[in-house]
Amino acid sequence: MDWRQLWEIISAPDNVPIVGLIPLLAFYIYLAWKQAHANDQLVAQLETDPAMAKTHHRKTWPFKPGWQKEVHVWPFLLRIEFLAAIIVTIILMVWSITLNAPLEEPANPNLTMNPAKAPWYFLGLQEMLVYFDPWIAGVVMPTLIIIGLMVIPYIDTNPKGSGYYTWKQRRFAISTFLFGFIILWVSMIIIGTFIRGPGWQWFWPGQTWDHNRLIYEVNRDLPDIFGITSNLGKAIFGLVIVGGYFALGGFLVYSLFRRYMPKDFSRMSLLQFSITQAFLLIMVALPLKMLLRLLWHIKYVWITPWFNI
């Protein structure tokens, strides 16, 4: 165990935000979960007791008849805002006094940094470079993430859970978002920051970064395994595999939706449903492709003269 190496990585000033992000995320997930749980219990109670549902104020917060429903922004909201500003300022001051912003040697195109890392918030994309060509990891994925976020309000037709925390009323939406945000985005950043060393190779925490380490990894392409040699054959083979993934996967999504979320399915238009299918399958494709690489050393699935996937 190389504690010095570990400490160097954890305490690198630009890595501190990620070290901070992890407990922050844990705290806020806990806070959200606590409220979601309370709301779910309230819903369950009201569902079984229609009389109570008619009179209850329908929140987990205390409320008594005669209490004012609204409070003045000044002072009740503004004092919180001012307090928040002061607290953030103090945190920032302490952080800035105790930790210096990094400054390396002057830029030198002839002296490559190894590993050369993107800023921490883009490390998820850089990690994807291991498994995908740059045009996918660097261009298509960010574009899809942005579009995917933007379509969320238009494909989520579930009217429940608007304006309060809940888990039971939005299981599918919340698990999908957690999968994208925590697993595909945050954990890839954590890997990119703490695990990837020189040559973007995998170093377990505490393993010494060996700048001369070489890994002989013979990656194969999926068509090779099936003995397909002609270019046309490879292109058609890949098209069939990728097309098949989307066709079969699409069908699977359909039958799962129809079976387990019939209400949501009936609310969705064809367009809404197809967009949901497409984004779900693309998201799931990431870990699948990673598994192909990690388990069977497969580099490309679909090879054409213009692009490889």
Partner: protein
């Protein structure tokens, strides 16, 4: 008129006497006038809110009446983004986590420290790195300034993510807030781009290689990059593709530094500010903060809904 000029002795009074008399009168009056005025002044200062200066700035009293509490918010250009009153539960920290507000506050801190940094920084090769060294070692509080700008930028990225996370978990993107969620997504992108364009500016190895890695991906842009799918077919070379446009050259050099600087200090902040104005405006127009709203029961889910669902509506 003429008689008035006659003195007690019937003789004519000299000019000097007349002046003397008037001055004595003035002095007598002074002894009473000034203390009265002084008293009035002190009396007046006891309640500064009644002074003309105060009332010219604040257009209403500061009493603890509901009317004045409301006016205090409504008649202030900065505070009137808020309504006068909000739902009693919407002020709970546990609902919004205050993250949108914290993000905005960090943006203000960054603008402030950023402007100060600009006084010491030239976006040219050689100079840029020296400026940062100078800032760190010779400018009073320069190091603190740079640190604050850097850490506030990191914090802002984290705060935006958490804000988005909370908005998702409370379902606050649902009707009627779909559009504001989209404005938010754009703000997220611009926040990341702000951070990224700033990374190059110290012109050190860290920024240089991060931006090199980042922009190398642009080579591979489908259609528009010289190493991307179909790029070469469309006549893309290292000297005319999208990466060239971003960097102002085929390598990360002086032009890239200048472009980065202009996007970082002028272009993106302006766009982001405009988007923030729209974002805040829409929070109000969409019925204020979405919750904590009343929970919806299964049986109510498919009933037609009335109007925007503001908190507690």
């Amino acid at each position: 008129m003429a008689e008035e000029k006659n003195g007690k002795n019937g003789g004519k009074v000299g000019l000097l006497d007349r002046v003397k008399e008037k001055i004595t009168g003035d002095v007598q009056a002074l002894k009473t006038d000034i203390p009265t005025k002084a008293k009035e002044q002190i009396e007046g200062l006891k309640d500064p809110t009644k002074t003309q200066v105060y009332t010219s700035i604040f257009r209403h009293k500061h009493d603890e009446t509901p009317r004045n509490r409301a006016l205090g918010v409504l008649s202030n250009v900065f505070l009137h983004l808020h309504p006068a009153k909000i739902n009693r539960d919407a002020v709970r920290y546990s609902y919004t986590w205050g993250m949108g507000g914290i993000t905005f506050y960090l943006f203000i801190v960054l603008t402030f420290t950023g402007v100060l940094l600009m006084f010491y920084y030239h976006p040219t090769k050689v100079q840029a790195f020296r400026d940062v060294l100078y800032l760190e070692h010779d400018v009073p509080f320069g190091k603190l300034l740079r640190n604050m700008h850097r850490w506030a930028a990191h914090l802002m990225v984290i705060a935006v993510w958490l804000h988005m996370f909370r908005v998702f978990l409370t379902g606050s993107y649902k009707k009627p807030r779909e559009f504001n969620w989209n404005i938010g997504v754009l703000l997220l992108v611009f926040t990341l781009l702000l951070s990224f364009t700033g990374y190059l500016l110290p012109d050190d190895q860290l920024g240089f290689w991060a931006v090199t890695v980042g922009t190398n991906m642009a080579r591979a842009t489908p259609l528009l990059g010289h190493e991307g799918p179909f790029g070469p077919l469309l006549g893309m070379t290292p000297y005319n593709d999208v990466r060239f446009g971003l960097l102002g050259g085929s390598i990360v050099d002086a032009n890239a530094l200048l472009r980065s600087y202009i996007w970082h200090c002028i272009g993106i902040p302006i766009v982001a500010s405009v988007l923030m104005i729209v974002h805040f405006w829409r929070v109000r127009k969409d019925g204020g903060i979405s919750g904590p709203a009343q929970v919806m029961l299964e049986s109510e889910a498919d009933k037609p809904r009335r109007g925007p669902t503001a908190a507690g509506a």
